[in-house]
Amino acid sequence: MTKLWNDPADFRAELIDGFVAAYGRYVRRIPDASGVMAVDGPRSGKVAVIIGGGSGHYPAFCGYVGPGLADAAVMGNVFAAPSSEQVYRCTQAVIGNAGALYCYGNYSGDVLNFDMAAMRCQMEGQDVRTVRVTDDVASAPPDQQEKRRGISGDFFVFKIAGASAARGDTLDEVERLTRHANARTRSFGVAFGGCTLPGQTEPLFTVEPGRMELGLGVHGEPGVSSSEMRTAAEIADLLLDTLLAERPDGGEARAALLLNGLGNTKYEELFVLYKDIDRRLAQEGVRIHRPVVDEQVTSLNMAGCSLSLLWLDDELEALLDAPCASAGYVQSAL
């Protein structure tokens, strides 16, 4: 349950203030807007990567602003997409002469607001492109990938977009690579318990003892189906059976991996689960590159986890390996 707040109505504003106060080494507040931008931006000649969405998913989204990652994050209220006005203002703060890429999870509210802002920028002569993250295999069948929602795969798609833009790629190229990364990213998750919005006393959903939800959303949405609670080893197989069924054709047998905790399922548990994921992927002949077992795309303190795979090729691997630094994710050469 969310416990720390002053007035729930001020939650977003206060969290942005606190975030900027804590991580002024990476970000500063965008004046008169609900968002943050990298301290070194905007950089002339560099494509601006702009991410965002509702709050409640830290480190997504504001935690990914910094060198090698995003230039700005637009921050909505808890689980609510930011308004198009805020997206527009944040864009104006960081867009340079190389255009901007919007990258965010595919949810109705985000699509509506980012699209309206993009139209407004385009009408003003700015080149703004959009790549929506659609990694969640539970949310639509494979032939409707464009309908799928974005969950923890955000992490990889943002990383590729950020690395491509950081090395000076053109907007065409940043868009192409980001789209390519999204096309090769798949995620699937399970939930064991819901979360509670600030100021509320009832969780958004509850999971009966001894059961779990499959195909969770990262906004406290219940899963798409329900099953008996399983052991870690069984859950590893369940996640991988689903993800491996969509291993892309011609995909080489290497993948970047994120085992993502939603907030209340802690690191030690994730490692126990990872042991069996690692074993199974080795059996399947998949080489795992730079696995991350951590909380990256959370859902307040929801219980559960999701597994994301980015099926790598050489160009994606090079971008994934590039260093980056931000409040929520640092990848150093050290």
């Binding site: 609510a80 109705s108 195909g215 949405e221």
Partner: protein, 213 residues
Amino acid sequence: MSEATSVETMRRIIRQALASMEEHADELGRLDAAAGDGDHGITMVRGMKAAVAVLDANAPDAGALLSRGALAFSDAAGGASGALYGMLFATAGRQLGAGPYATADVAAAMRAGCDVVMRLGKAQPGDKTLLDALEPFLVALDAAADRPLPVAWRTALPAAQAGTAATAGMVASCGRSATLGERSLGHRDPGAVSLTYLLEAVDKVIGEAESDR
């Protein structure tokens, strides 16, 4: 209705809409939590508060007041409902302009807003969204276009209510709850419910204004 009366009526409508959203916030949240992310009540209240906060600025006419409120709503609310309600009422307000309004003027303005919502949101009636309340309401309002606005509005309300009730039997194919497919069955769509409360709030204000005469 003089222009001053129209502006004052619009102020009262917006205040009444906020009161209604506050009254029903928990219900809207619960409905949204059933298949979505549970924030619809919070979002509507936050948005309506922002709309009320811009009421004091002196607006030239009722349509401008509605548009201005809609933009404030949209920015504060965020989410799908912020964008859609914002476009619905901003468009309607722009088209309304200065009063006095015949019923047909109001129906045409709302229809223009509805068209924008459908174009932006790419949903159709039957997809279990607020359109399932809005569309039948507009059809009924059109049918009563020759009657005075308060009467026509009240006559059309049951269509919105019936449309909303019908959403319980629909499978969502738009918005957050689309993913849940069959699992969204049995719960009314929160956006249809909130839209109906908004229409009822309008009725309350213009109906009373009517009886005040």
